[in-house]
Subunit: 497 residues, 2 copies
């Protein structure tokens, strides 16, 4: 089918209105899970209290970076403004938001000062008050029993190693606080997504998918990497209303593709695209704090070389094998190994490696070419929470130890499938020095590939009852990419006999 020409300047995607019932459902899920956990531990019910993000300023200046809500707070309340608190009474499920009391100059500089009722209506909570009423309101929730126990969020993020900071407020000293119960329960709630969350994730994936295709059509040798970042961001915002990206765009051409998180301020997407190079584009939009995370890799000039095709098809075979195998009950580390196997098989077939793939896996050769994990949970954070709950251990083996989760798949999980194959000096160098691994190398082929960067193919996938659903729909086969880059529509027109 042909692309329908949209009216001038109208967004391609209709405004996605997020129903606030999404957050009510999230709260209900938490209340149920917490009730069970507390009663199993013989503890009394308490009141969940979260502190939302605060507006920051840059260094000592009055420059205010665009505020983005803290993800746990966003999960439960969906509040887009800074400076809020939110409470949920576990016994009754009652939800209360606390809005900051704003100074009168706010009306001149920042906008209309809204009363609590405005936020009660906007976020569909049971009650809304001012932050300065927080202590008294929580006390009332305790009723005759006196000050209720506050369930505060405190725990370690397994991707960053940083700790979630429990809420603080004036008067907290009058309450009992429980800083251990909430974190694992709330994190676990976020792991399996609701239908409303999945719909939202599908939307932001649709926008990002279309943006990737737009960029794919525009890439030409001589452009600079950051121009693709700019095109992507513009498409997602202008056409899809996505003001944030989930993470800094990685627009890595040629050897830059071997730097997994290229694109940051120290390596800022500033190389000119060379005819003959591949470009690896890892970019995803965010909407209402929900992420997408998609990588496409293709030739700058629109035509794969034979060597590029060898590497690319190895990675694509891994991606396809993983998605075929994905379903509840399958352990993610096994799929990581499966991806490594397919990639190594592809490299053997392409004449880059020689020998037994089983022996290669035994020697951890997979991690030389794919030094990152196969994929990660995705939701409110790009690297979403819950990867290593209590009882799930991180492997110590190369490759497997880089996995952001070692869990067994369950229905409703959303995870990225992102096999990659890179020619990274930092892993290739040591492997070449190590006879146990270098024995598999066809040295002149490896030499040809050194400095060529690498390939990553990343899709965002939902685990369903009996398999998976790939939310990402971009050209993946080399012929599909080449035809779309040459100007054909996507999906490709059905070929006529």
């Amino acid at each position: 089918k042909k692309l329908i020409k949209k009216p001038v300047n109208q967004p391609r995607f209709e405004k996605y209105v997020v129903p606030m019932s999404l957050h009510a459902e999230n709260r209900a899920k938490l209340v149920k899970a917490l009730g069970e956990t507390l009663s199993a531990a013989g503890k009394e019910n308490g009141v969940v209290l979260l502190q939302g993000g605060e507006q920051q300023t840059r260094y000592d200046t009055d420059h205010e970076p665009l505020f983005r809500q803290e993800s746990y707070f966003a999960y439960l309340f969906g509040v887009t403004e800074a400076g809020f608190y939110g409470a949920v009474d576990v016994a009754t499920g009652k939800s209360i938001l606390f809005a900051p009391r704003l100074p009168s100059e706010y009306a001149i500089w920042m906008g209309k000062i809204q009363p609590p009722q405005h936020f009660k209506d906007k976020y569909e909570v049971d009650e809304a008050k001012y932050v300065d009423e927080l202590s008294a309101t929580l006390m009332e929730l305790g009723g005759e029993g006196g000050a209720p126990t506050l369930l505060l969020l405190h725990g370690k993020n397994s991707d960053s190693g940083s700790w979630a900071a429990p809420a603080e407020f004036e008067g907290i000293g009058s309450f009992l606080v429980d800083k251990t119960t909430l974190f694992p329960v709330l994190s676990e709630c976020r792991v399996r997504k609701s239908q409303a969350e999945l719909d939202l994730l599908r939307y932001v994936n649709r926008v990002s998918t279309a943006a990737h295709i737009e960029v794919m059509r525009r890439v030409k040798p001589g452009m600079t990497e950051y121009q693709l970042e700019s095109l992507f961001q513009h498409f997602c915002y202008f056409e899809g209303g996505c003001r944030h990206c989930s993470y800094t765009c990685i627009c890595a051409s040629g050897d830059n593709a071997a730097t997994l998180h290229y694109g940051h301020a120290g390596a800022p997407n500033d190389k000119i695209l060379s005819d003959g190079d591949l470009i690896l584009l890892d970019m995803g939009a965010e909407y209402h704090c929900y992420a997408s995370d998609i990588t496409c890799t293709y030739p700058v000039n629109g035509k794969f070389t034979e060597g590029q095709e060898t590497v690319y098809n190895s990675v694509l075979a891994a991606s396809e094998a993983v998605m075929e195998a994905m379903k509840p009950g399958v352990a993610w580390p096994d799929l990581h190994r499966l991806a490594e196997r397919r990639i190594l098989e592809g490299l053997v077939e392409g004449g880059v490696l020689i020998g037994s793939v089983d022996e290669m896996l035994e020697a951890d050769l997979g991690a030389v070419f794919m030094p990152h994990g196969l994929g990660h949970f995705m939701g409110l954070d790009t690297h979403d929470v819950g990867g290593y709950p209590e009882g799930v251990k991180r492997s110590e083996k190369p490759g497997l130890r880089s996995l952001r989760t070692a869990r067994t798949l369950e229905e409703g999980m959303v995870i990225t499938v992102e096999p990659g194959c890179y020619f990274v000096e930092a892993t290739l160098g040591p492997a070449l020095q190590d006879p146990d691994r270098s024995r598999f190398f066809v040295l002149e082929e490896i030499e040809k590939l050194r400095g060529s960067g690498g390939v990553r193919i990343e899709d965002d996938v939902i685990v369903t009852a009996d398999g998976c659903e790939n939310m990402t729909d971009v050209p993946r086969k080399t012929y599909e990419i080449e035809r779309v880059m040459a100007g054909e529509s996507w999906p490709l027109p059905v070929s006529r006999g």
Copy 2:
């Protein structure tokens, strides 16, 4: 002249290569000024030590917001990477950068690990070392005299009220520290821009100017405000290489224009543009940490109404009067008053106000319509430093007290000229209740304007030896705007007889 069609996908602006001599010059200026200050105070020379910005993560996650260097550090060293320190020996002028020693995984995830020599060459400093060599290196600078005095940056930013945080490092206890001398001297250095700084500011202004014109040509009723933000950002990045904007874009249509800093997360540029409304666009790109800050106001449908023209031309008259009067020796508060006078005169002429403009000024009526200052220094920060050095007092009068500087103009200062006239409930309401001010109102005209938003016209201006240079060149006269919105080129073609 016609716009020349640029080759497909090539940026419209050639890459601006910032000479590192800009920062060497900044350092030399500081060394000279510090030498004088220290010797006048009978103090010994010391070593300036600044700590650059650190990479942040969002809340407890591993999400890394795009790093942007701290402005004082950027001024002296131009370093774009996080985690650096920089020292300047006042006695010799010798400059030393200290780079973080990166872990080996950095090579896989973030890019090539560069030795200090790389940064010495890149930033043209006299020496480069690792951060873990900081203490020993500083000690050596002291020579036979022992540990040198470290001049650290500590002082209050007059726009934010926040304090610059002095450098900290392991071993600082072995040094004498002076936390009072550096801040006022370094801030003062930043107030008068060098030729290299002015060239850079002109560049980023050129890009922003062109981006505003691009947006102006695209605005149509039915679009959403944020689509203009997206267009602006995309143009500045794709065409001009500006990855950051200086501040969050303000795209305020209709009554939103009365909110001076509209566009933040609590008021996120999400209104649909209405036929008949004005739109106020306050947007500026940043390049190599140097800012621009431009506001255009025009009708969404491309044609001013008579009422809109009254308000707009009052503000334009103020802008023109101020720029005509600007030159070294003129006090900025006097120009603020001049702007108020022109705006009030315009409103009298348009039949919105009645009575003596002198009496209106006496009654502080100006601040009802322009509740912000006439303009602010601009440089590495949008609201640049040095507005209130010791001895310069902030007025307590409405309007004047909002000025971000009360200084007398000097050659080389860069300041925004941004008169505005708004119909803000928060100032209009009280004024209507106050007989001393409401006596000037033509009530039915004021009623018509309530809720109509407002007008701001903002240019970025250099104070020259005998006047000023306006770096901003966008259509300003109502007929210019209307013709450019109708598709004519800018500058307008010279009319044929």
